[in-house]
Symmetry: C2
Subunit: 414 residues, 2 copies
């Protein structure tokens, strides 16, 4: 594995310190399945009564752990999450399934819960059998040492090609009570929406029933993990789980909808945590040197705006131009055209770094490349395109395509 | 422009010498619009009575020359094609349109034909106005020197980032008469189906009416130019024109369908020419070090097989793995999954270089990586995937994703 170990130049300067969340205890272990000398196993233990919601990859070749989560999510309860890094247990046939079964069975025994309340996620190499023994051997010990501290260690234990650990936190009021939301995530390559490839685990001490929790999560993901792309590749393992440990007695009375105004602050805080984690994944995009926001407005619908924005954000020609600090808006126009969505070529406008470079279907006569040279040389690139046919808009985030991406992916067996 | 000038390692060893085609005269000129010291303008003059068919980019931001061709193709007749390299005359607003109008008007006068019988194609930078004067100034002279020789020069004059000139030829019998098909093409980056980005001009002395010519061309393109991808990016300028100069009197009696058995040999030869040109474009893919054939079989439909094959062929992770000579079939499985088309994970098989590496949803127990090391180190990579749900199949061709792609596209303003 020839993964560059220095952190991405787009990494945040300081690592966040996450507060404890009542009902959540964490522990990390070393299985040496692939990595040695670093924790590669995370166990999150959840108090009885915890609700769970999840969003999983839409890949048709999803992994055995994803199959397991999909089968159990409708129950809506969780007592543990087990995550291993280094081997995705994907495309491993019946062996993959039996590894999951052995893991949850051992966990149920170690954690004294039903196997169906144990969720598993695996990330790393595809197609190599994952032996459950090194995982199951340490579960009982991890249950002993699990504590409400150690969020940073937890975020580190699930990393593969990531160059920095990813976490976010926010607080909100629900019915006069302050609740906390903590999230960790991993992801660097094989990142594309539906779902953005990654694992992410979000925990809150809010008291929210599973059905409503699921709606809140699905909504928040649409404009966060489903609005980022590194390379347009979708993994077999994408898993986002949201656990709410809040006591049944603390639940709001007559709460019937995720749109209940009493949940508005919480929904906003959840959006913020997911958005931050999504951005961190892009900032750790393999080889990324620049963080790029692409906003498409003037589209016929949000779906169309998203499709056009993704066409731009996934275009290798746009991404290499930005790597070369070239404000090549012609390639942006090309990407709009290839999306297949409605756009009026002769009313199209493009802004880069707030400067209008093209207007009404041609170069803006007032624009000079020198005006945005400093912007192109910066770490944060801002692209806005008005396609001139409607009122809808959508923003996606991506990174540039650099030599480092090739270095990392021509060598790493993932 | 920092384009590497050495030919692609995948270029054919010898340049083809194309025979003359009755009714076609060629001339090249220098306009210095972008390049200096090399021909950058091609004029093909066609005898009266020539039929024309064409397939154009589906981009929503197509160029002014493509607009012009689209408007005139239904007429079915042609007397001249003018192609300039270096400036695509795309996203140039009303100026772009008036450049086309000035060009065809001057050509009609120089070549003594109707402006509507003059077809234009431009390739190169997007978003910069194209002055027609350097083109129109030389048309009369080019008409004087045009000859039935010089196919190689013609193929060279239309190059942009291409590292070698692309041509192909074949012969067929129609009604006891031998006819010739010559084709030239350009294309290297911004190559994706619908349409594969490129310009290609095909000429034959066969006598075929425009409607049938169009059907033959559309059919042949489906498995050639629409079955290749370099980077998944679609240009604003894609243009394929097929001209048949054969005399009206030579036409077959009662020819009503492109499926007429008397055209079978011709259709096969046309397929061959287009396939060869399409392969040459992939072999000149920006930065390409390996030529990759991806065949998907066992799919529910041809459309599904093509979609899955393109998902594999466009995956940056698959393409970088191949650049690194890594038989990373896990990424192939990932790409199958992300295509969204039906596939049976547990019946999926993958062959690389004829060696089965995965079978029934897991690594083939008999497979050892050393068995395909030599294949991975070669120039031609062969991938076959059986998705296990049906009987349809489709093949697409692509190249690997290398450092050179980044070098070329982080610098070149296209």
């Amino acid at each position: 594995m020839a993964v560059p170990s220095s952190p991405s130049p787009l990494a945040p300067n300081a690592q966040l310190r996450l507060p404890a969340i009542k009902g959540v205890r964490l522990a990390v272990g070393e299985t040496a399945v692939k990595y040695s000398g670093r924790p590669d196993l995370l166990v999150a233990l959840l108090d009885p009564g915890t609700s769970i919601a999840g969003v999983l990859t839409r890949s048709k070749t999803r992994s055995a752990p994803v199959d397991w989560c999909a089968a159990n999510l409708p129950r809506g309860t969780a007592r543990a999450i087990i995550v291993n890094a280094g081997n995705a247990n994907a495309f491993t046939g019946r062996k993959g399934q039996s590894t999951v079964e052995a893991t949850v069975k051992a966990a149920a025994s170690a954690f004294d819960c039903a196997p169906q309340d144990v969720y598993v996620a695996s990330t790393g190499v595809i197609g190599e059998p994952l032996d459950p023994a090194p995982i199951t051997a340490v579960l009982a010990d991890l249950a002993q040492v699990a504590s409400s501290e150690g969020w940073q260690k937890a975020a580190s234990a699930i990393m593969t090609t990531d160059t920095f650990a990813k976490s976010a936190t926010a607080q909100a009021q629900i019915g006069g009570r302050t609740v906390t939301i903590n999230g960790i995530a991993k992801g660097s390559g094989m990142i594309a929406p539906d779902m953005a490839t990654m694992l992410s685990f979000i925990f809150t001490d809010a008291a929210i029933p599973p059905g409503i929790l699921q709606k809140l999560l699905t909504t928040a993901i649409a404009t966060s993990f489903n609005a980022i792309t590194v390379d347009g590749d979708t993994s077999t393992s994408d898993t986002v789980l949201l656990c709410a440990t809040g006591d049944r007695k603390q639940r709001l009375k007559n709460l019937r909808s995720a749109n209940d105004p009493r949940l508005r602050q919480f929904a906003k805080a959840l959006d913020q945590v997911l958005r931050e984690l999504a951005h961190l994944i892009v900032r750790d995009g393999e080889g990324a040197q620049k963080f790029i926001a692409v906003t498409v407005k003037g589209a016929k619908s949000t779906v169309a705006a998203r499709c056009i924005a993704l066409a731009i954000a996934n275009s290798p020609l746009v991404k290499t131009a930005i790597a070369g600090e070239d404000a090549n808006w012609g390639r942006i126009v090309m990407a709009v055209g290839k999306s297949g969505e409605a756009a009026d070529r002769d009313r199209l406008s493009v802004w880069i770094g707030g400067q209008r470079v093209a207007h009404n279907g041609m170069a803006d006569p007032k624009y000079r490349e020198t005006q945005i040279a400093a912007h192109m040389q910066g770490r944060e690139i801002d692209i806005i395109v008005d396609v001139g046919v409607g009122k809808a808009q959508f923003t996606v985030w991506t990174c540039d395509l650099t030599h480092r991406y090739i270095d990392i992916n021509a060598d790493y067996r993932s």
